[in-house]
Symmetry: C2
């Protein structure tokens, strides 16, 4: 390349903004995968007009609107509700959700952990250990236990298949019709209670949309077999938390393995913290790991720079 | 059949003996699968000479020797060490170990649970929950973590494959040479330290033999990467417990998920009970579930009745 050309071509520029993700890991990883792009880290924007791309988690309200030449918004997360929460966001710009095979694999690991924790009586055995009690419990027979998976996209389909491989019966539920080998598939709101009626374990990996918010309410819990276990790893607002607490109190729900909450972190007085049948983790089921995700983002930026269609742009009418 | 024939043909007879397994589940399940066989439950032998088969867990010393016409001993367990422990056992009789696909699947479930519990920081997150602390920990990157599986028989091969499918690097170790797709296989005692040197998680599903007793000693723990986690689901005597405690104290071993112990149950004063990095379960990783195992036993009894070779007879020279 002739020296003059490099000076003339404007270098593309990406802004990183996240209150929760480590900038010192993310930006070097992105830079390594996209050496041709300049990176800036909010709130140090420099000349805002330089910025072509933003990669964000929970962007401060107004940040995206302050970038006059922004072209694409990348979500540091499979969901994009944290971006839609900004009322000032530039509505015409494409938003790309994170579709990372490794994020999917992490969600699978967590779903297996959550279900197996209750399936193999870990709450009981951990209490026994504390009390120095040796008491073998009669095991559940896996081929007669059903795992239900809410959401059958990239993540849910793999989660469902993972349980099928372990010998569980598996049911899946999605907005539109899906077919997956060996999985009993249901779709649409009307089919939800029917689907739930056989699920001893229920794993929610739905995206948060107007249709899915509050889906796991008193009626949904009542539709489950008595003592069913809920593993919630989509978004906290899928679950009507007071309804879950009532269902746990009555024994209708036998346990909950929760990674996401209506408000994060939950208030110190939230009854989940000390509930004997609730396991809590701090929104870590499907973390975005830069080592993997930076590659996914880089491939997409290169598509855009080459004038090709970018992948995984959210359909805003559908919400994911 | 002519009435007289039935009276003349001696009906085969099986004795059930176990201090730990529910006779009220086992015997009806066996009877349902083998209606042509008569069942008796120790210590009510009736005429001892009637008994052709014994199905046992930890048989009392001398019980098997008291059955003059015993032909086959069936183990209620994948291991047979609990039978060999009886010095009076009839040495010439075939002993059949339990090779039940469902037992294998249960062991896989447990191995996944044990590894994922530590891999996904559950000890830390459970302590955080008790303290109402919201603290996200930087995740391990699964493709860079290695699971080592000791024992590559029916159970170990499936365990290794399950971890491979989750995206872990997997190493396996066995007595004789084995080859498994996608698994880095090692064999023989000399190769053990080399194999261990990369294993962040170590799952032991070996049979207990003269060669494997005490295999997990100070030298083995020292060969692991610092902070490795041990999941012990073979037999308690594979582990030199004082050595494991020292390795936990020094941090060389970062955690242990234990289902089996040198003495079961462990004494109330055993340091495992309250160790913050030890998870204990009461020998339930691979329980024998009559619903599945009675079918396996029935098929084998029918082979014997038909004069065909029975399956899964232990090679006593090898020990499994």
């Amino acid at each position: 390349m002739i020296a003059g050309e490099q000076a003339l071509a404007k270098r593309s520029c990406m802004l990183f903004s996240s209150p929760d993700d480590p900038v010192d890991v993310w930006v070097p990883e992105l830079q390594r995968n996209l050496p041709e792009v300049e990176f800036r880290v909010a709130p140090e924007l420099g000349a805002a007009a330089d910025i072509d791309y933003a990669i964000v988690w929970k962007p401060p309200a107004g940040l995206l609107a302050s970038l006059p030449n922004l072209k694409v918004i990348f979500s540091i997360g499979a969901g994009i509700d944290h971006i839609l929460a900004d009322p000032e966001r530039p509505k015409a710009l494409p938003i790309v959700r994170m579709v990372d095979p490794y994020l999917r694999d992490m969600m699978c690991e967590y779903a297996l952990l959550g279900v197996l924790h209750f399936h193999r009586f870990m709450p009981e055995y951990q209490a026994d250990q504390q009390a120095r009690v040796w008491q073998r419990r009669w095991p559940h027979y896996t081929p007669e236990m059903t795992v239900g998976v809410l959401g059958l996209g990239e993540i849910g389909a793999k989660v469902a298949e993972s349980f099928r491989q372990l010998g569980f019966r598996v049911r899946g539920w999605s907005r539109g019709e899906k077919r997956l080998p060996g999985i009993e598939c249901f779709h649409g709101r009307a089919a939800l209670p029917v689907m739930l009626s056989a699920c001893h374990y229920l794993v929610c990996v739905l995206p948060l949309t107007g249709e899915t918010a509050g889906l796991l309410d008193a009626a949904a819990f009542a539709a489950l077999p008595r003592g069913a276990v809920v593993v919630s790893i989509g978004r906290g607002k899928h679950v009507v938390e007071p309804d879950l607490l009532s269902a746990l109190e009555s024994g209708q729900v036998g346990g909950a393995f929760l990674d996401v909450y209506a408000s994060e972190p939950p208030q110190p007085a939230h009854p989940f913290w000390r509930h004997p049948r609730v396991i809590m983790t701090p929104h870590i089921a499907g973390e975005i790991v830069p080592k993997s995700s930076a590659k996914v983002v880089a491939a997409n930026v290169r598509r855009h720079l080459a004038g090709e269609p970018i992948a995984h742009v959210v359909d805003l009418a559908r919400g994911y």
